[in-house]
Symmetry: C2
């Protein structure tokens, strides 16, 4: 089960942080930004940056999350950098998460699953990630192709349940006739979809995206669905604090992987006296300490 | 307004069909399929196929819809074919729709909008489509970056309201406390988001995806939201008929663009005596006649 491998890495590093590589020209330090004149440069320089950040943080973190939007901005060259970054992170022993939030009808969902978790129809994989993020708006027949690959190829999903943005409540917190909210309904779907993929720690390889900024909702989801592992965006730049996150973890200090993107890759702005990769490492160390204070207040953690 | 340009093309061709280029190796005729050994071949052959289909149909159709999933399967080479196909369709005077169903928090939605409707942060466009499809699960702050580009760059959106797949009812037809369904709520969001973008025909450049298989829902949405233009998937391979679609059109025969992917690009299987592009043209002609019967039963159409 891939969820077990993710949790093993989290335990090994005593750190639930996913390094979010939302890398784009605007976020780069000046000395790298000036090297970019076209998409080819962008692909090359972004990969160079990502590689340095991964090298600086690999011994401290269990996972990387690559936000596809930023790479898609640079066309085919961007997607080349996306795949090279995934491959490099994998070679450094990290768990890889494709943050793509894909969704479609079954035949097309099958093609997305082939793209990010499996193999194209000519037998070659494009982006062979461990996990990918998926949007639940289309219901179960749009999820099943992904589940099939999770089962046959030891992969995992994080499905949007309660997102970190302010407007998420417009749809997700709507109250249904039966009294549940939309996000609780979707939480129930996710639990069902992941039922056959529960690993040795009691968590399923089919998890949920639950924003760091959504403390009350996270508490409810954690309580209702004990097998559901969370991918938590929204720490740092979006305003989520370690205290907000504590409700998402169980008494073992497990239950979630917490993403930080801008807080790490843009740390060179906060610590201008350091090289950009040293600044990123410092941000990772500070985040690990910050999360640890809230998560691990008992002696027998891990 | 881009919606006016789309409707102008529909009127000019007397045809509301979007050519759906869900092109992948498995859908190609045998003589092209055998040419593909790696991703580079796939990109080249798929573009060659798309170009021939566009050439065969360009005088009959107003628009093409490119389903990204199939291209993403072939990595960077696939996305190169995606962009070359868009560019070629544009050069033939067709309206281009990126079927990508993207969705994310505002900063990332901004990057997706840069990728498909606008310009990357280094000032170069990656895929400069006329329209793109978007998923509404995150609410308005995940839509606003797209709306900003629609306004400043004359672009449009089709937002998922009621999708064509069977399981779409699991979430979309849930009934809220106030008696509305989730898809009606989302329809209301879409109407609001598109309010400032209504063109000369009374339709907004911010439209809705409403599946051909969803006759009752389509009728309700059409009645409730007169300014909402529909992108209708699900005709043909998914079981939607022209009769099902009639509720989506207004008394002028306007109101929707109807996508057909497999029914056109795989027509070589149905008409093996024809060359694949002749078969595609034949499928387009037959579809135009089929849709015309239902839509245009008055004399004064167009």
């Amino acid at each position: 089960m891939i969820i077990d491998k993710l949790i093993d890495e989290i335990k090994k590093k005593s750190n639930p942080t996913a390094l979010g590589l939302d890398t784009c020209a605007d976020y780069l330090p000046g000395e790298l930004r000036v090297k970019i004149k076209d998409f080819k440069d962008a692909g090359r320089v972004i990969f160079e940056f990502n590689k340095s950040i991964i090298d600086a943080a690999a011994d401290l973190i269990p996972a990387v999350k690559l936000q596809a939007a930023y790479y898609e901005m640079y066309g085919a060259h961007g997607m080349e950098a996306y795949e090279k970054t995934r491959e490099y992170a994998k070679s450094r022993g990290l768990i890889t998460i494709a943050d793509v939030k894909r969704n479609d009808i079954a035949s097309t969902a099958g093609a997305y699953s082939r793209a990010y978790l499996s193999c194209s129809d000519i037998g070659i994989p494009a982006y062979d990630f461990d996990f990918m993020t998926v949007n639940p708006y289309l219901g179960s027949d749009g999820i099943e192709p992904f589940l099939a690959d999770c089962k046959s190829r030891e992969k995992g999903l994080f499905i949007l349940v309660k997102t970190s943005n302010k407007s998420s409540s417009e749809l997700q917190n709507q109250i249904l006739k039966d009294g549940r909210t939309v996000y609780e309904l979707v939480g129930g779907f996710v639990e069902n979809w992941g039922r056959d993929l529960v690993g040795k720690y009691g968590y399923s390889s089919v998890g949920a995206v639950v924003g760091a900024t959504q403390k009350e909702e996270a508490r409810k989801i954690r309580k209702a669905y004990a097998n559901m592992f969370f991918l938590i965006p929204g720490y740092g730049a979006q305003g989520g604090s370690a205290a907000d996150l504590s409700v998402s973890f169980d008494e073992r200090g497990l239950g979630a992987v917490v993403n930080n993107s801008r807080g790490i890759i843009c740390a060179h702005k906060k610590f201008p006296e350091l090289k950009y990769y040293e600044a990123a490492r410092k941000a990772v160390v500070l985040m690990k300490e910050d999360l640890g204070k809230e998560r691990f207040d008992s002696e027998n953690i891990f």
